[in-house]
Amino acid sequence: MEGSAIRLRDLRKSFGETDAVAGVDLDIGDGEFFSMLGPSGSGKTTVLRMIAGFETPTSGRIELAGQEVTGLAPFERDVHTVFQDYALFPHMTVEQNVAYPLKVRKVPKAERLVRARKALTEVRLEGFGKRRPAQLSGGQRQRVALARALVGRPRVLLLDEPLGALDLKLREQMQVELKALQREVGITFVFVTHDQEEALTMSDRIAVFNQGRIEQVGAPAEIYERPATAFVASFVGTSNLLEGESAQRVVGTPGIYSIRPEKIRVLKESAEPDEPEHTTAVGTVAEVVYLGDATRFLVDLDAGGRLTALQQNLETSAEDVAAYRGTRVRLQWNRRHTVPVPDHR
């Protein structure tokens, strides 16, 4: 890839017997909002820490902007990190925290102050400069950490689950702000998260990690609509797989198939199947989960297996959908939404 900010080649890291990272190749473009998504222990944070320089790879190569940095110390890399617990210096004021990377680089004091104030304005914290981190709320500390990491305009910003400690409302707000900030400053963001929704909403591209390896790299739509492996299909979005006997009977050919719940319509059993563009399957509603704006139907298929279907509550209310429990239904979805998943297991 031309103009790549980060290039990882066969990166490996072992802690004793366990391989935390077992061979990762990755190219992250300049100015990209790139997410590393995976469950805890999948190696995404270890990869991030190796890019930052906190961990030394067991083998492999790390390049930043075409320069090899594999063995360099953190302070020799043009990369700044936003830590999960913010890691603000408690003995410094907010302003001193933000000015710290400039002080380290011996920027004159007057300029330091101006730039620190500007960075605080960028994260909408003007006027908080004289406070101590302990006097701020979680969301405000988060912003200070962001300002501190951005003030020196690094080539790459690493974010280690930075929104994990915030409550839902604040998290959604910060997602929007982070994305806007990234567009504004044009710096490459590498964002580590275990929250698939967060990754889907914010990223230009996503790498899905599992057991120290990357399962798939792609744009959010690609990851969601065309999962490359069964793991991606089940980790991103609701797991909805047809396999074995039931796959043979419903789809017609053996294999593993992923069907996203919102693509499936729930019809009366007596409804005419709309072939040939659609696939249908009949079954019994085992459970109805009312979600407010939508309803989730868990249906046990006659062909075996269970599918989840998600229906918007356009006309229906909670009582209407509850009546579906135990009834016979026909599920129907467009053939092109039946996504074959290569079996790596």
């Binding site: 302070f75 700044h80 830590f83 210096f89 710290y100």
Partner: protein, 287 residues
């Protein structure tokens, strides 16, 4: 319901009674024995003695304090004592920091408790034995002389430097422990963050580690300073002819008890001033 349960229940409903039962004994101890004896000390400093019989005469006068501040010898000894305490404190801090850094952050985690025990072990040995051991080390032709001879030097012998050296040895663990604890509790993330933002090791030490550990250094200094200021045995054994406040108190006890009391008030006042100064650094909250 058993009597025990009923008593416990009654106490649960009467928090004031509970507090009174809990605190009566320690408060009595503190008020009568501790503050009481300090008051007696302070009051008796204003009495005088019959110069023939050395008996205490209970007549009020500030003569003792007047003598204390006007006699050059007394002034010298007071300044010397404070100087020794300060020197011991600085030496302890300088020596303790690298040791604590090693035990808290460099040594393998499973060795750390053992190292802390090793640092504490000397505190279990008798004070006198340790000081006499230093007397042997510092004596003429002793270990210090023997080790320094190849360099054309000799040991410090007995005197003020020897007293400072020995006191530093004695009180060093009291300085290492609080620094060790502070360094151990220092979040590794902050060190990572500092390096990540471009700081080299020395800058991280100066701007992050030192300011965060300073209150604990101050806490340790309260121990080293006050223990040194109150000591008089070490200086008797290795200090040669050196006199500190404690020695003057000791030599006055038989002949002029009120004067001894006046002298004894000096370290109390100095330490109260020192504590007030240290409170500003936040040291008292990290004790």
């Amino acid at each position: 319901m058993s009597l025990l349960t009923r008593t416990a229940g009654a106490l649960h409903r009467r928090p004031r009674l509970r507090l009174a039962l809990l605190l009566t004994a320690p408060l009595l101890w503190l008020a009568v024995l501790y503050l009481g004896s300090l008051t007696v000390l302070f009051v008796s400093a204003f009495w005088t003695t019959d110069s023939f019989t050395s008996e205490v005469v209970k007549v009020w006068s500030a003569d003792n304090f007047h003598e204390l501040f006007t006699t050059p010898v007394y002034r010298q000894v007071i300044l010397r004592s404070v100087g020794v305490a300060a020197a011991v404190t600085v030496l302890c801090a300088v020596l303790a920091f690298p040791v604590a850094f090693y035990t808290a952050r460099v040594a393998r985690p499973r060795w750390r408790p053992l190292l802390v025990v090793a640092i504490l072990t000397p505190l279990w040995a008798s004070y006198l034995v340790k000081v006499y051991a230093w007397r042997l080390i510092l004596s003429e032709g002793g270990l210090a002389d023997w080790m320094l001879r190849p360099f054309g030097l000799s040991g410090p012998g007995f005197g003020l430097p020897a007293a400072v050296l020995t006191l530093t040895y004695l009180w060093l663990p009291y300085m290492i422990l609080p620094i060790h604890t502070a360094l151990e509790q220092l979040p590794a993330n902050l060190l990572d963050a500092s390096a990540d933002l471009g700081a080299r090791t020395w800058r991280t030490f100066r701007s992050v580690v030192l300011p965060m550990v300073l209150p604990s250094v101050a806490a340790g200094s309260i121990f080293t300073f006050s223990l040194s200021l109150g000591d008089y045995i070490t200086v008797q054994i290795v200090g040669g002819k050196t006199q500190l406040i404690g020695n003057l108190v000791y030599s006055n006890i038989e002949l002029n008890l009120p004067m001894a009391a006046a002298l004894g008030t000096v370290p109390v006042v100095v330490i109260v001033l020192y504590l007030l100064a240290m409170r500003r650094t936040g040291a008292l909250s990290s004790l």
